[in-house]
C-alpha cells in the first residue's frame, strides 16, 4: 500500500463491512475449511454454503466438470441443514472473528421463511442471502429467480421473519435481470447480489454421455465475468439498493470491473477453489489501486455518477 490511507469499509443495507470483498456461497464451505490459508477477518465477510431447513444429500457424482476458463457444478445444494449449522458450524466460524452471512434456500416461500425464522434467534449472523435460483416446487420446478412474482413472494415471506440485512441473490438465466431486481427491491430486499451460475452442460464425447450425473450444472469462473459485469452494470442503473457483484473474480483487476460498474461490494467464488488465498490478494490489490488512483473510499470507485435509474435491458442496441 502507498502512503495514502484508503477507507475500504462499505455499508450494505445497514450492514457495515471492513472491506468490500466477500467469500461467495458454496465456494468457502462453512468458512472453517479455509482457515489454514486465509485469516477470515481479512475479508469483508463469509457467505456460507446454502442452508436448507433439513439436511440435504446433494446430487450423485460426478458433480464437477472443468470447461474453458469455467467450472460446471451440480452439487445439488448438499448441506448439513439449519440445526447442525447452528449447533456445530456457526459457533466455530464466529470464533474466527469472521462476519457471517448465511445463504438460504428452499422449495417454497414458506420454507424460505421457516429457515429465516430458525436463524433469527442465532446470534452473530449479520445478514441472510436468499438464493432464489432454486426450483420452485409449487410452480413445477421453474426457479423462483426466473419469475418476478415468485421471487417477490419469497422475499416478502423472508422479510417478515428477518429484520437484519436481507440480500437477494439473482439468477442470470433470465431475459431481463433488472426486472427481477426491481421486483425483489419492491418486496423489501436491502441489497441484491449477482450473478449466480449460468446454466450449462458438458458432454463426455468418448463416454458419449453428459459429464455431470445431473446433466446440467451451473457455470462459474472467469468465463462468465463479462456476462456478470454487464448484468451488474444494468442492475446498478435499475435499482436504488446496493448491488453486490459476483462472477469470475480472480484478481483485484476483476473485482474493480464490478466496483467501477457501480457494485457496492463483490464476492469471490470459484477463484477460492483454485487458490484458497485469492480473496486476501484481491483486498490488497484494491487498496493498492485506490492509493494509485488517489481514490480514498470504495464508494468513490463507481464510474461517473450513476445517472437517473433506467431499465437496463433497453440499452442494448447494435451488436456484432
Amino acid at each position: 500500500m502507498g502512503a495514502m490511507s484508503v477507507d475500504m469499509s462499505v455499508e450494505l443495507g445497514g450492514l457495515k463491512l471492513s472491506n468490500p470483498v466477500l467469500l461467495a456461497s458454496g465456494t468457502c464451505g462453512y468458512g472453517l475449511e479455509l482457515t489454514p490459508f486465509l485469516d477470515l477477518r481479512r475479508v469483508g465477510g463469509v457467505v456460507v454454503k446454502g442452508i436448507s431447513l433439513e439436511p440435504r444429500d446433494g446430487n450423485p457424482p460426478p458433480r464437477l466438470a472443468e470447461t474453458p476458463c469455467g467450472l460446471l457444478n451440480s452439487i445439488g445444494l448438499e448441506n448439513v441443514g439449519a440445526e447442525r449449522f447452528l449447533s456445530s458450524r456457526l459457533p466455530q466460524l464466529l470464533a474466527t472473528g469472521a462476519t457471517v452471512i448465511v445463504n438460504i434456500l428452499g422449495s417454497s416461500a414458506e420454507e424460505y421463511a421457516a429457515i429465516a425464522a430458525r436463524l433469527r434467534d442465532a446470534e452473530g449472523i449479520s445478514a441472510l442471502e436468499v438464493n432464489i435460483s432454486c426450483p420452485n416446487v409449487k410452480a413445477g420446478g421453474v426457479a423462483f429467480g426466473q419469475d418476478p412474482r415468485a421471487a417477490a413472494q419469497v422475499v416478502e415471506a423472508v422479510r417478515k421473519e428477518w429484520g437484519r440485512t436481507l440480500i437477494v441473490k439473482l439468477s442470470p438465466n433470465v431475459t431481463d435481470v433488472t426486472e427481477i431486481a426491481r421486483a425483489v427491491e419492491a418486496a423489501g430486499a436491502d441489497a441484491v447480489s449477482l450473478i449466480n451460475t449460468l446454466l450449462g452442460m458438458a458432454i463426455d464425447v468418448e463416454q458419449r454421455r453428459p459429464v455431470l450425473a445431473n446433466t446440467f450444472g451451473g457455470l462459474s469462473g472467469p468465463a462468465i465475468r463479462p456476462v456478470a459485469v454487464r448484468m451488474v452494470w444494468q442492475t446498478v442503473r435499475a435499482v436504488k439498493i446496493p448491488v453486490i457483484g459476483i462472477g469470475g473474480i480472480a484478481s483485484a483487476r476483476d473485482a474493480l470491473e464490478f466496483l467501477l460498474a457501480g457494485a457496492s461490494a463483490v464476492q469471490v467464488g470459484t477463484a477460492t477453489l483454485a487458490d484458497p488465498g485469492a480473496a486476501a490478494r484481491i483486498v490488497e490489490g484494491i487498496e493498492e489501486y485506490m492509493a494509485r488512483h488517489s481514490i480514498t473510499s470504495v464508494s468513490g470507485l463507481a464510474i461517473g455518477q450513476v445517472p437517473g435509474r433506467r431499465a437496463g435491458a433497453r440499452f442494448v442496441w447494435r451488436l456484432q
Binding site: 464451505g29 490459508f37 444429500d57 457424482p61 458433480r63 467450472l71 452439487i75 469462473g221 472467469p222 477453489l273
Partner: protein, 254 residues
C-alpha cells in the same frame, strides 16, 4: 495440519516411461508434516492465463530433504502443462491435503495397486510397514514405473492381463493367499473396479481394507463439496477431506 498454498520451485521433472513423469518440488512440509496417502493440488504457473482453471490432485509420491515428489501420467491439459515444466520453473501447489493411510503400528499390510496406483508407495514404504505389494497391469510396458520406485525391502508380486510378466490374470487373483495367511490389513489404490473387488474380498474375510479413492476435484480442501462418493449407508462423503484414503467398508461400491 501444515497445509499451505504456495508457488514452489521445480527441482526436477523428467519422463520415466512413455507419458509418465516424476517431478520434485521444493516443499517445506516434505520432511515431516506430510503423511503417506496425502495429496497436493498442483498447477503449472502460466501468468495471466486461466485455462486450465483449476489445480489437479496428485498423490505425494515421496518426500525427503525438503522436496516433495509426484509420479504422474499425462492425461489431459493440466498434466500436459505440468510435463512441460523444467527445473527452476514455478508450480502452484496447495497441500498436503486429505486423510492418509492409517498408521497400523507393527502390522502386516499388503498393498494392492493398479496402474498409477503405485504413486503413493515410496512414501508409504518409508513411513509405514508394508510387507508386500501386489501390482496389476495390462501389459509389460505399464510396469516401467517399477524401475524408479524406491521400495527398500518390499517384495513386489506382479500380475499382467496378457501374462507377459508374472501371473497371467488380474492382480486380485494374487490376494487370497494373503487373506488366508492372516494379513492384518489391505491397502489399495488403483482403478475403481479393482478396488471394488479388493474391498469385496476383504469384506468377505473380515480383513480391514483401506482404499485411496479418486474423484474429480475443484478445491481439494473441502470447500466445494464437488468430490462426492456415495456411502454404503446413503449420503455422500468427500474424497478430498474424508479421504482420499477411506475405510473401504463405508463406500457404496455400486
Amino acid at each position: 495440519m501444515g497445509r499451505t498454498s504456495v508457488s514452489a520451485r521445480v527441482v526436477e521433472n523428467r519422463p520415466i516411461a512413455p507419458g509418465i513423469y516424476r517431478m520434485g518440488i521444493e516443499a517445506p512440509w516434505a520432511d515431516g508434516l506430510v503423511m503417506p496417502g496425502q495429496f497436493c493440488m498442483l498447477q503449472a504457473a502460466c501468468p495471466g492465463s486461466s485455462d486450465p482453471l483449476l489445480k489437479r490432485p496428485l498423490s505425494v509420491h515421496d518426500a525427503e530433504d525438503g522436496v516433495a515428489w509426484f509420479l504422474y501420467r499425462v492425461v489431459g491439459k493440466g498434466t500436459g502443462l505440468l510435463a512441460r515444466l523444467v527445473k527452476g520453473d514455478m508450480v502452484a501447489a496447495v497441500g498436503p491435503l486429505g486423510q492418509p493411510f492409517p498408521s497400523l503400528a507393527g502390522r502386516r499390510v499388503v498393498f494392492v495397486a493398479g496402474g498409477m496406483g503405485v504413486a503413493p508407495l515410496p512414501l508409504l514404504a518409508r513411513r509405514r510397514r508394508v510387507m508386500k505389494v501386489l501390482l496389476g497391469a495390462r501389459r509389460e510396458e505399464e510396469l516401467a514405473v517399477l524401475d524408479v520406485l524406491d521400495l527398500p525391502g518390499i517384495e513386489v508380486e506382479i500380475a499382467t492381463e496378457d501374462g507377459s510378466v508374472g501371473h497371467k490374470g488380474l492382480v486380485t487373483d494374487l490376494l487370497p493367499p494373503f487373506l488366508e495367511g492372516g494379513v492384518e490389513a489391505v491397502f489399495t489404490c488403483g482403478p475403481m473396479p479393482m478396488m471394488r473387488e479388493v474391498s469385496r474380498m476383504c469384506g468377505a474375510r473380515g480383513t480391514a481394507c483401506w482404499a485411496s479413492l479418486e474423484a474429480a476435484m475443484a478445491c481439494g480442501s473441502g470447500l466445494c463439496m464437488g468430490c462426492a462418493v456415495r456411502k454404503a449407508g446413503g449420503g455422500y462423503l468427500h474424497v478430498c477431506s474424508d479421504g482420499p484414503v477411506v475405510d473401504a467398508a463405508v463406500i457404496a461400491w455400486g
